[in-house]
Amino acid sequence: MHGRVKVKTTAQQEEEKRKEREKKLKVYVAARDACFSKRKDGVFDDEALQLTQQLLSANPDFATLWNYRREILTHLETVKDEDEAQKIYEAELSFLESCLKVNPKSYGSWHHRGWVSARLPRPDWARELRLCDRCLSLDDRNFHCWDYRRMVVKMSSVPVKQELEFTDRLIGSNFSNYSSWHYRSTLLPLLHPGSPEPPPSRCDGDPPHSCSPPSPQTHFHRVCEEQLLKEYELVQNAFFTDPNDQSAWFYYRWLLGRAEREEMISCAYVSREQERVAVAFSRPVNAQSGSLLLVLDGQPQRVEWRSVHPHFKHSPVWICDLPPGTISDIANEHNLTVHWTEKHTHRDCALYTGRSESWCRDTATDLELFRSELSVEKTSVLQSELQSVNQLQELEPLNKWCLLTIILLMRALDPLGYEKETLAHFQTLKEVDSMRSAYYSDLCSKFMIENTILKMEYAEVRVFSISDRNLTTLCHLDQLLLVTHINLSSNQLRRLPPQFAMLQCLEVVEADNNSIENLEGVYHLPKLEEVSLKNNKISTLADLQPLASCPKLRRLDLRGNPVTQTANVESELAELLPSVADLLL
């Protein structure tokens, strides 16, 4: 017969718990102090090992104690033979396992485990891999464990295929797992390397895997087409199942690729009047490191390269002034070569008699300039991808990931042809994801600028006009090195950024009806003559300071700016910008 039941009151329970805690704390503090004093005395004995073990099993995040423990273990290693050391380290591993149960995300425990595994005379990597499997099946986003796994895989040369199958399993059980997708993206290129160029046709019997070994330089992260198609299918399953899951979309972006532009000098420009050379690179570089060599008519020149604006240590555009008088005679013809020694590349440029300026650039890159976001070689693949994502968009017209991917695919396929659709999709994106509307505006600006550059290239003119396009930002200004007239009117620009100084040939700027309040980038533009800034937000004279660095500025339109209300604005401006003859306020 059971007794009648009474239950302890909450107060009783609390009291008991409090006492328990106090007791625990006392023991803990005593052990900690003992450890510290032992370490101070340089004692590396078994007792210290015991004490630290007690403390660490209660609190595995005590880094100092792990350090002490490592000191003890390294000491023991010197006095014991290999078998004993093996035993000690194995005991350490099982102790660590118990620590990981207390806190599976403890930095200290995982780091120590890595340290022990590396020192173990006869490591059992298979067991370590199983441990990782186990931990990751319990929490597939434990990045400590992912790191440890990568170490184990590296140390024990686990076949890439096996690891890929592991990601298959994890993704199968839960595909909202960016860690697995990412791991996949590092494994696939190793297992199925893509060919850098279309495989050359061979007369002899092709080996079954015609994927040639990866070229280590640029294409090492690409995957062969056959595998890519399988991956597209996998990832499509994921984003059709849950289009709001971003990990699948990110992986998809990776699959679609990102071309790396060849590192080269994309343009060399020389101006007779300024006796100046400007060089544009395919990516930002630091030319001050002495890797740039200028040869004029066969003579290396000692010049000082500088970026277009003091803000930039790295810049895609660099300029230098030639020694006075070297090219100023219009009757002379000059041959100029810029060597980029670091990359073993160069660009020639001839300045003919009677010409005041000259440039040399690669026209072949024009088309490819902005398709770099997605670099799948075959448009047929992109075409069919666009089709399936469009299919998803029909089902999920308001899904932002889907819309964004469509935009990217369209850009990769035909940026000008899809311009209208792209703009419409951007509009929807801003509405459905209003939190990121500024991001979409900037991205859209970027694409509009790219399209305008393409159109300009086709027209072979030096006028860049992009008015009334809702631009919020300026980019790709390095591509506008040769532009003489720029029209940015009726957009939503707030500044002419330092990059604007790359427009070294600029003569006329029209930027009316924006919200410009900062002119930082109108800086040392040697040919700039006219600036129209009607209806902007320039409010102080200091904001106009950069203009003072442009020697040829003679016309400035500031109508509709707050600055015009400043007292003595006319006289102040006359002092600040003496070259301006035509000032409209």
């Binding site: 017969m1 059971h2 007794g3 009648r4 039941v5 009474k6 239950v7 302890k8 329970q13 396992e97 990981l100 149960k101 599976p104 995300k105 441990l131 186990r134 931990c135 319990l138 929490d139 986003r141 434990n142 199968g172 059980s173 839960n174 595909f175 499509q236 399953n237 994921a238 059709f240 199942t241 849950d242 289009p243 399936s388 299919q391 998803l392 089902l395 999920e396």
Partner: protein, 618 residues
């Protein structure tokens, strides 16, 4: 307890240990009521019970016994002035009918495993000879049972076997014969009848086949009351459906949909979108109220595949089920999804019979008194108040009480209407899974849609990991609403899905080793007739036909409410260490409880906050 007299005063006397009665017992004891819980049977859980193989054989015999004539004794010596007696039934009512047993395994003693082909062929030939002689095989079956079954009545064995043998349309023996084509593949391990009997203790065969919805009322109750500490659960690992003669996996979770090879990406999206959208009530849905769910599904442009999955496997509805009901069951399914695993269902390790026992244990911890093989002869009713004052138990003791809770079968037959609805049940022991996979730990729920007049069948296939059958075998439960007898309703499906005859051609279907068919009254169809019972007599009906346990829990809650309207229903039980016993200040505490804290990650332990993402490396 057997010899001493029971206390003569209780608050509540409960007859029958089925799920509803056991929950009421636990709930009442928990709030301090003195509970006497009796069952006239020798086992717990009544029609909710799980049996070992041998136990089931005994149960089969009992069902075939002629009910003994009710002994009428004169209890007037125990009654007082103004009291009147209501006699109770001393035997089970006709809740189980149409019992039929078929055995397809070798009746011989275990053969040598290493027997070579010729020997096996010879054995098979002998088998074929034996086949013709039914009596012989029946006899050997009896022999086995006589060896094993202690205390069984031989007469009954013989009788039940006769009844079974009378059903002659099915072949009795299925001995896989080694054929040239099958020699290369690993031959299935043969299980003999003797082995089934010998290892019979490792079977836990449920009489009712149900599952727990992960967010159903039973799981909530188990968690809330802390009764969950007495049980462990397995996830049902997959939902299957039988369609066009094939078994297909039903993609119901996000991971399933992602991995499914049957669905196109567009179907995947449509399915996922439907599943997410139907969680909340929309105007569009309300517009379909009263119209069939199927119509609603069709108008969602889901396609045949998805309609099938949604209607039959997820909503488990019929074609004419109204939309609001279909949506409600779809939501119930979806709410339960992902709480403990990739399907919405849990199954208790060691069988469903564990659950009522867990509640009984809880009742016992809080002072409930338990007697099996002990019943009540009659109720003593105060004529004026029309309330039951006391009972007279099967030993003739008068026990006073203020409430009586009893299962329908305790009522005298004259007081219960013949059940209007029955369930058809089949229990199969098979040799392999209906859909073999990499893992042999699968617990599968299979939905079979209605076809050509035959009702929709719910099938649960249990693997040995559920601790309900021995390795190398599977336990398959089939349930449907009765149209005819269980055998008529279910055997056509069984012969389509399983191998019951010996066939020469390649046949990958699982073989049935042993099967049992019976009908069980649908509890929700039972009705009390005649004179109304005293108001403090509460009747629990038996298991219903639904897959979940909502009916039993709801019934128990409402009975508890009417007995103790002021009290909370199953408040959390304190930890054993916090229980103080009178005159026992050392608080050892765990008396009467069984601690099941063994950390086996494969088993699900129901805890109030189950956080799947909290990694706990082992």
């Amino acid at each position: 307890m057997a010899t001493e007299d029971l206390p003569s005063d209780f608050d509540i006397v409960i007859l029958g240990t089925g799920l509803t009665e056991s929950v009421v017992a636990a709930a009442c004891s928990r709030v301090g009521q003195r509970v006497l819980h009796l069952d006239r049977r020798s086992y717990y859980a009544g029609n909710w019970a799980s049996f070992t193989f041998n136990g089931l054989l005994t149960w089969i015999q009992e069902q075939n016994e002629e009910p003994k004539p009710e002994e009428v004794r004169d209890w007037s010596g125990l009654t007082e002035e103004g009291e009147e007696l209501i006699h109770l039934s001393q035997a089970d009512s006709a809740s189980i009918t149409n019992l039929q047993v078929f055995s397809y395994v070798s009746e011989e003693e275990e053969e040598e495993e290493a027997a070579n082909t010729t020997e096996e062929e010879k054995a098979a030939d002998e088998e074929a000879v034996k086949e013709s002689s039914e009596t012989e095989s029946a006899d050997s079956k009896e022999d086995d049972e006589e060896e094993e079954g202690a205390g069984e009545e031989e007469e009954q064995v013989r009788k039940s076997q006769r009844i079974n043998q009378a059903e002659g349309e099915e072949p009795e023996v299925d001995q896989p014969r080694p054929s040239p084509s099958s020699q290369s593949e690993p031959s299935r391990k043969k299980i003999s009848y003797a082995q089934l009997v010998k290892e019979g203790r490792r079977y836990n065969i449920d009489l009712v086949s149900k599952l727990l919805f992960s967010r159903g009322s039973l799981v909530d109750l188990l968690i809330k009351s802390n009764v969950s500490r007495y049980a462990e659960f397995k996830n049902v690992t997959r939902i299957l459906t039988y369609r066009h003669g094939n078994i297909e996996q039903v993609p119901c979770s996000r991971a399933d949909v992602f991995a499914s090879r049957q669905l196109s990406v567009v179907e995947k999206r449509k399915l996922m979108r439907f599943l997410t959208s139907c969680v909340e009530e929309t105007e569009e849905q309300t517009a379909y109220h009263g119209r069939p769910y199927l119509e609603f599904l069709q108008d969602q442009q889901l396609g045949d595949n998805l309609q099938h999955f949604l209607l039959h496997s997820i909503a488990m509805a019929a074609e004419d089920t109204p939309t609001e009901e279909g949506l409600a069951s779809t939501r119930h399914f979806l709410r339960s999804l992902g709480r403990y695993g990739n399907t919405p269902f849990l199954f208790p390790v060691y069988g469903l019979g564990e659950i009522p026992q867990c509640f009984c244990r809880m009742s016992a911890v809080f002072g409930g008194i338990y007697c099996l093989r002990h019943s009540v002869h009659c109720l003593i009713v105060d004529r004026d108040a029309n309330r039951c004052k006391a009972v007279i138990d099967s030993r003739g003791q008068r026990i006073s009480c203020s409430h009586i809770v009893m299962e329908t079968s305790y009522l005298d037959r004259s007081k219960v209407a013949t059940p209007s609805r029955f369930l058809s049940r089949a229990v199969l022991i098979t040799d392999s899974s209906v859909l073999p996979s990499e893992s042999d730990q699968q617990i599968s729920m299979v939905t079979v849609p209605p076809e050509g007049g035959s009702p929709a069948v719910k099938m649960v296939e249990l693997s040995p990991s559920s601790m309900t059958c021995i390795p190398g075998t599977y336990l398959v439960h089939l349930t449907c609403r009765s149209v005819g007898s269980a055998h008529q309703d279910l055997s056509p499906l069984v012969t389509r899905m399983f191998r019951t005859t010996e066939s020469q051609e390649e046949d990958r279907r699982p073989s049935v080793l042993w099967s049992l068919y019976f009908n069980m009254a649908d509890g929700t169809a039972s009705q009390v007739e005649g004179q109304p019972l005293p108001s403090n007599v509460h009747i629990c009906h038996g298991p219903d036909s639904a897959l979940g346990h909502e009916d039993a829990v709801q019934q128990a809650a409402s009975i508890f409410q009417s007995i103790l309207p002021e009290e909370e229903f199953c408040p959390p039980a304190p930890n054993p260490e916090d229980i103080v016993y009178d005159g026992d200040n050392t608080s050892t505490g765990t008396r009467g409880t069984r601690s099941c804290r063994a950390l086996d990650l494969k088993n699900v332990q129901l805890e109030p906050e189950q956080n799947q993402n909290q990694g706990n490396p082992e």
